[in-house]
Structure formats: C-alpha cells, structure tokens
Symmetry: C2
DNA sequence: GAGTGGTCTAGACCACGGG
DNA sequence: CCGTGGTCTAGACCACTCG
C-alpha cells in the first residue's frame, strides 16, 4: 500500500496515472474494488465512485463478476454543448438579432411527417427565421411545430422571441435526438446566409419529444465557417 | 410524503416528472436534499445521487448554499461518441479496408505547428490514408505525428494497420481536443473520396495531447452524406 | 455565520452473469 | 454457485458561498 488516498478524485487520478504509464495495460483486468480500497486506505464506495467516473468517460470497462478492465478502445465520448443560439452569440461578445422571415401553418413534407412520427392530413406550424451576430447572418432556422401538442402556440410572439426560446419556457419535453452533418447551400439558402451558392454549411437537425409525441423538429444551417468544439 | 422511493433512478424519474409537469418550474428552487430524502423515505445519499445525475445532464443547477434549481435554459449536452473508424464501419455490417496513400517525414505548415504548440525547424511524420467501407471511400485521414513524443514510430507497420489504431495501443495520451465543421471538397480531395468537387464534407479535427505535448493531430474528411447522431 | 451540497465511512444486501 | 460491481443506509465532517 502506497499511502492513504482520500478523495475519489485522487483515486481517479491515480488510476489514470497507472493506465497512462501502462502499469495497467489496455484490455487487462485491474484489482477489484475491495482490494483497491484496501490499498488506498479508503472506503470501497470511494473507489467505486472513482471507477464509475472513469467507466463513464470510457476509459474502463466494468462488468459484474467479470471485474474491471482497462478499455481496449477507449471510446472517445465528447460532450457537445448544443448552444442556445442567442447565448452563444452573446458569449462571443457579439450583438444578437433575430428576424422572423415566415410563419405559416401548412402541410409538411412526408420526410418531416415521418421524422416526427406523424400521419394523416395535418397542418403544422412552420417557422423560418434568421439569427444574426453583429447584423451578419449566423444561422438559418427552419422549424416545424405540432400545434396539437403545444398549447398556446398561436399566441406566441414569435416575431419578438425565437421559437426555441419560447418553446423552452412554454413547452415541456422529455428528450431530443440530434443529427449533425454537412451540406452544400443552394442559391436560396446561400442568399439567406449572406454566402455563395455551393458553400459548405454545418447542419444540426434536432427533434424534440414529449414522451412519444414529437413537439418540434428543427434544421439549423450555419453560415460557412462555423465550427463546434469539445474537449475530452 | 407520498411513498417510499428506494432507488436513485426512481428518485431521478420522480424529479424529472415534477419538472416536466411544471410542478417545479424552470428557474425555481426545489427542496433541499434532506427534505427530499425525508419525503421519499430514503437516505440523503440516494437523493444526492439522483440530483447529481440530473445536474450532470443539465436539467438542474446546483450550488452550495444557494440550493438546487430547475435549470432555466437546460443546456443541451449531447454525448457524441467519436468512433474508431474501423469499428464504426464494421458495426454497420460493411467490409472495412484501409489504404495507406502516403507516409512522409517532412516539415509541417505553420498552422499545424501552431495547433500542436510546436516551434522551430522540426520534421513531423505525415500520414495520409483512406478508409473504405465495402470498397467505397468512407473517410480521408490526414495525420501529423510528432516522432519526438512517440517512440518506436518509425517501425510502426502503418501500411497494415491505421495510425489511429497503432497509436491507441502504443502511444499514451491524456486528453483530446476536437473540432467539427463542414467544408467544400477541392477537386483533389473529392477524387480521393470518390465524390465531386464542391460537395460538402463533414470534417473532424482532433489533437491528442500527452500532458503538455501534442502527440498527433488529425483531420478527417468524410465522404458526402456522412452524419453523426446522438440522443439526450 | 449558517445553510446547502459534496464527500467519506463502515457495513450491508442485492443482481448480474461468468465459470 | 459465488465473486464482482451496484446500490442503500445512517451518520459525520467539510467546503463553498450567499446573505
């Protein structure tokens, strides 16, 4: 036993060190919680907390009875913080402006209906808007909202506040699916973003669910040059 | 007190329900841990575990003394699993093939040197390779490795196994930075990916560090149509 | 200063799943 | 079967930070 290590962060760091130094090699089992607790001179719960954190971040594989092993291929999990647009812009020190381009209740394409798991002859609310940073187009937002699951939608002042923000504080939801990809801007899309046709745009598609009901689906097309960063 | 709730997952679900039902509204404080433990008939540690999980996922804001509040703008954190290319392809049921195009020791551009926090007249190993799925180009990999921090690099059989996989099991690292964006393919880049010039490509740039030393930086340009999904 | 979350402990029981 | 991680408990002390 080296010395008493008290906090779970210290245990985590020591385990990281052993993995990093190849003292515990990828694919190999490490001592069980009880032994480590003994070695570190702390409670098993403390070791558990540390190992659980490491497993969460993908550095360890844990299975009952099989024990804990150093992950063979440390699955690289990156936590992306999907920004609230206005916050993101203001945190960069830029002036935020929001412009509602269109707000129509109409039939959605089959692709949209499928994505939202909807059927039949229904109308949805389509909102198209541009978010500006220092008066330069930052991102175009193309959103569909199901009025049936969002009460009060028709009274929403979407000309003043973005649909995203209004929904955040007025519509409950339970989870989201998100897909990120790249696309080439059409001439129309490029004009909206102050870009040239054919330029590459970063795209985020998000569907927000309330239980089994799709609340809203949105496609965000960012002006060329946008990037999203993370650390892990 | 409603009834005894034993597991921390049950507590988490109940808290989620109350937030979702607006019983606890965004921005408002919720009872402290001790009170909740009393109400739920469980130990405070159990409540703590549940609330900590909810705070981690961005649904709650917790501060000592200030207490716990329902997050005003639930920061939407998406956990992206950055795939090991071969795994990703094989998990889709496709045949994986790797082709080393070039392997040269040479001077890197200033941009690369800056990103890796390197200075001076140094040569780095540049590896360019294509990963195929069912013999169709899937992603182009343009990588720079610092030989000074990766011992044994010159003997690595990079014609047989991808640099990523070799590095994973041969070079220690402590953390990575990642940036994702979109770009338009040049004619050359398009040819490498079996695409047309001007098409949009999803790009991942990653720098891997070992302490304060940059081990490697890589740019991945995915064939048009690629997307990355997450749920949260 | 005092209330709140953050953490540690020692012990206990349980559920999963490998052998 | 039975070892391992997963979890719960009751109590305690600590650290941060708001008022």
């Amino acid at each position: 036993m080296t010395k008493t290590i008290k906090s779970w962060q210290a245990v985590e760091q020591e385990v990281r060190r052993r993995i990093h130094s190849r003292e515990w090699a990828p694919g190999e089992p490490i001592p069980n919680e009880a032994d480590l607790a003994l070695e570190f001179g702390c409670a098993r719960a403390t070791v558990n907390r540390a190992l659980r954190a490491l497993a969460d971040s993908g550095l360890l594989d844990r299975r009952r009875k099989a024990g804990t092993r150093v992950a063979l291929h440390p699955i690289r999990k990156a936590v992306l913080e999907i920004p609230v647009i206005r916050q993101e812009i203001e945190e960069k020190g830029l002036r935020y402006r929001y412009e509602l381009v269109e707000r129509t209740e109409k039939r959605a394409s089959k692709a949209i209906m499928d994505r939202m798991d909807l059927v039949g002859d229904r109308s949805l609310l389509n909102v198209f808007a541009i978010h500006f940073a220092n008066d330069r187009p930052y991102v175009a937002e193309d959103r569909w909202i199901d009025p049936a699951v969002v009460p009060g939608l028709s009274e929403a002042p979407l000309d003043r506040i973005s649909a995203n923000e209004w929904l955040l504080s007025n519509a409950p939801y339970t989870r989201s699916d998100i897909v990120i990809s790249a696309l080439c801007l059409t001439a129309t899309q490029a004009r909206q973003l102050g870009a040239s046709a054919g330029q590459a745009s970063f795209r985020i598609e998000r569907i927000t669910w309330d239980g089994d009901d799709a609340v809203t689906t949105v496609e965000l097309r960012f002006a060329p040059g946008y990037s999203l960063g993370a650390r892990f």
